[in-house]
């Protein structure tokens, strides 16, 4: 029992070693860029961290930034567990926002104890529908989900713009001038700000969304590691043909994993809409949460608990960049750090080169001993 526990800890340490290394390297490279701007990297990183975890209300803002990242990270991670690369989280997120805001309008007379729940479910359904397309195409026709989801991201963006401009626009539903955003979520449909329970969060607009996100991470952990569904999904991701031979349907699990992944992405959209923005804006580009979700999942090793930790890290980076910019350092340094983290993780084979080198060295030393 004792040794089993120890080996589990060893596995955990082994699996976070590489992401940690990637983060450290990325910060070092980021430091060079900061020096280039003529600033002191230690001061800059000091600003970054004080801006995001310096006091409780700043930490609240960090949690707010981390909230959608937890959902999108979970979405990408869940897909990955089934061997799917869901690069379409971006589009599924957009569908989640549109479904949530439409629900807010349609059910505007619903009481407050039930409306937020309905809107969250609607958001999840929106994301799930959009993810079902690449899922079923991969399962039934063997089409690569990556390209399909990229195409669907932009399709979702333009459809959402169309809906916001000519269906859900306040000018159409309420009359008045044309706006670049949709109607608002009614007051009783919004998530509660945590400041109302814990006043020390101060001005921060962090809301119960973060609680929902953490609960969702635990649920996903439970599904993945404690249920038959999770076992089948992971089994298909690990070795689809062996799974099929063992009676696990590849097609069913691929579709299901994609739909669950999309539902999580849609939840990210719904939580953002009913927790923070209360409306959907017309956009010229991607919201970016989906691509950040890929980074979050990679750093978190596709494990729900790891994703919670890495979402917090990316929340810190996202929130701290503002204070860094006030101190005179271009906020793009943070983007550079983020992308270098992903580049290092994409190059994970570097890690597999290392043991080879180690082996060579240890072999040599052994031979020397024998001689």
């Amino acid at each position: 029992m004792q040794s089993q526990k120890e080996s589990k800890i060893k596995v955990a340490i082994d699996s976070i070693k590489f992401p940690l290394l990637a983060i450290v390297f990325a910060f070092i490279i980021g430091a060079f860029f900061i020096i280039w701007t003529g600033n002191n990297p230690i001061m800059a990183y000091g600003e970054l961290f004080s801006g995001s975890i310096g006091n409780i209300s700043r930490f609240g803002e960090t949690l707010l930034k981390a909230t959608p990242l937890i959902f999108t990270g979970l979405a990408v991670g869940f897909g990955y567990r089934c061997g799917l690369f869901n690069i379409g989280v971006e589009g599924q997120y957009i569908f989640g926002t549109i479904f949530a805001v439409s629900g807010g309008w349609v059910f505007r007379d619903m009481p407050g104890f039930i409306l937020p729940g309905i809107l969250l479910v609607l958001g999840a359904i929106g994301g799930a529908i959009w993810a079902f397309i690449p899922g079923i195409l991969k399962a039934k026709r063997g089409v690569n989900e990556v390209i399909i989801s990229i195409m669907l991201n932009y399709t979702a963006l333009y459809i959402a713009n169309y809906i916001v401009r000519s269906v859900l626009n306040p000018s159409i539903l309420l009359g008045g001038d044309k706006k670049a955003y949709s109607v608002m979520i009614p007051d009783q449909g919004r998530l509660t700000a945590l400041t109302e329970f814990i006043p020390s969060f101060g001005y921060s607009s962090v809301n119960t969304g973060i609680v929902i996100a953490i609960i969702m991470a635990l649920i996903i952990w439970f599904i993945l590691f404690k249920t038959t569904l999770g076992y089948e999904v992971r089994s298909v991701g690990f070795n689809p043909y062996a799974s099929e031979y063992g009676g696990i349907s590849i097609a069913k699990n691929i579709t299901l994993a994609m739909v669950i992944s999309g539902a999580l992405a849609g939840l990210a959209g719904a939580v953002t809409v009913i927790g923070l923005t209360f409306k959907v804006d017309m956009a010229s580009g991607m919201p970016g949460y989906g691509f950040d979700g890929i980074a979050v999942a990679l750093v978190g090793k596709n494990h729900p608990i790891g994703i919670l930790a890495s979402a917090l890290l990316f929340g810190i980076l996202k929130n701290g960049e503002r204070k860094m910019q006030i101190a005179g350092i271009p906020k793009e340094v943070v983007g550079i750090i983020q992308s270098i983290i992903i580049i290092f993780i994409a190059a994970e084979a570097i890690g597999s080169y290392l043991p080879d080198i180690k082996k060579k060295f240890s072999k040599k030393s052994k031979e020397e001993v024998q001689v």
């Binding site: 169309y162 991607m286 890929i294």
Partner: protein, 309 residues
């Protein structure tokens, strides 16, 4: 007629960056490396074209810089995807993010603001063959073309020739379809893939230059706005064939031109957003096999490891 000519010229101009990037995608994917990084390569190309033109005053030097930086960016993808056997899609996503950040960073370092650069005094937005403008009717078409439009057609011809008429092209296709067999007959899979990904970078950089130097003569953050992905769509729609990619790019360019000029054409009843989704929806339908069937090179996305079975 005048409106139609203007529309055609605009379609050709809008298709140009797509043609270059789609050709780049063909080189990379035909050799078995999925190139999601085209968007990032375009961003880098567009920025460095303006940067170098800004400092040297020569737009053609800017174009060469864009090609060079494109190749350099692609080299990063090549190292990650070929040598380190990383996930090609993840590497591509990382490079896209990196390009967005690094160009925004350099923009702020050089021009001390964010958003967009100053416009460069000399650019390549004019028609290089002014004598063509004397042709009646068609002259109006030629006056709207940039050097990049002509270059893109040349690039299509060269790509077709290289891929289908040269021994090297045969090697590219062999490596992309069955790297192990290619390796067995003595083709160096790694070398071919490195060269192809770098060529893809050169074309992607050129595409970026055609976007910045060839249209507005400045660099704006987010100016590619997914054009790299539309190029990938064009490549798929054209079934990984240079001429197919050219036709697909022209089609998508025409759709965009119609969408931009919808008001002057008097077709404002089609929502412009739905026209914008056209390239993407068309690609999904083609990939899913509802209109024809697009089959990717077999070894696409799979890192090759010598000596492994």
């Amino acid at each position: 007629m005048v409106i139609f000519i203007a529309l055609l010229a605009s379609a050709l101009r809008l298709a140009t960056p797509l043609i270059f990037s789609a050709l780049g995608g063909i080189f990379s994917e035909r050799s078995g490396v999925v190139n999601i990084a085209l968007e990032g390569i375009m961003i880098n190309g567009a920025f460095f074209a303006i940067l170098v033109t800004h400092f040297t005053g020569s737009p053609w030097l800017g174009v060469f810089a864009a090609m060079f930086i494109g190749a350099l960016t692609a080299l990063l993808l090549a190292v990650l995807a070929i040598h380190l056997r990383g996930d090609q899609v993840v590497a591509g996503v990382a490079i896209n993010l990196f390009a967005t950040s690094i160009t925004a960073f350099l923009l702020e370092m050089v021009w001390h603001r964010s958003g967009q650069t100053d416009s460069v005094p000399v650019s390549l937005t004019g028609n290089p063959f002014t004598f063509l403008e004397k042709i009646p009717v068609l002259g109006n078409l030629f006056s709207g073309l940039t050097p990049f439009v002509y270059l893109s057609f040349v690039a299509v011809a060269v790509t077709y020739f290289v891929i289908y008429k040269t021994p090297f092209g045969l090697r590219i296709r062999a490596v992309g379809e069955h790297p192990r067999a290619a390796d067995t007959v003595g083709i160096n899979v790694y070398t071919v893939r490195y060269i192809c990904v770098m060529i893809s970078g050169v074309l992607g950089g050129l595409s970026g230059a055609s976007l910045s130097l060839g249209t507005v003569s400045l660099f704006r953050e987010g100016m590619t706005s997914g054009k790299g992905f539309i190029a990938i769509a064009a490549m798929i729609f054209g079934k990984w064939h240079p001429v197919g990619a050219l036709l697909a790019s022209l089609f998508f360019g025409f759709a965009e031109a119609v969408q931009i000029q919808a008001a002057s054409l008097g077709i404002s009843n089609i929502p412009s957003e739905l026209l914008q989704t056209l390239p993407y929806v068309a690609t999904v339908l083609v990939l899913a096999g509802f209109i024809g069937r697009a089959v990717a090179p077999k070894a696409g996305g799979v890192p090759y490891q010598k000596g492994h079975r």
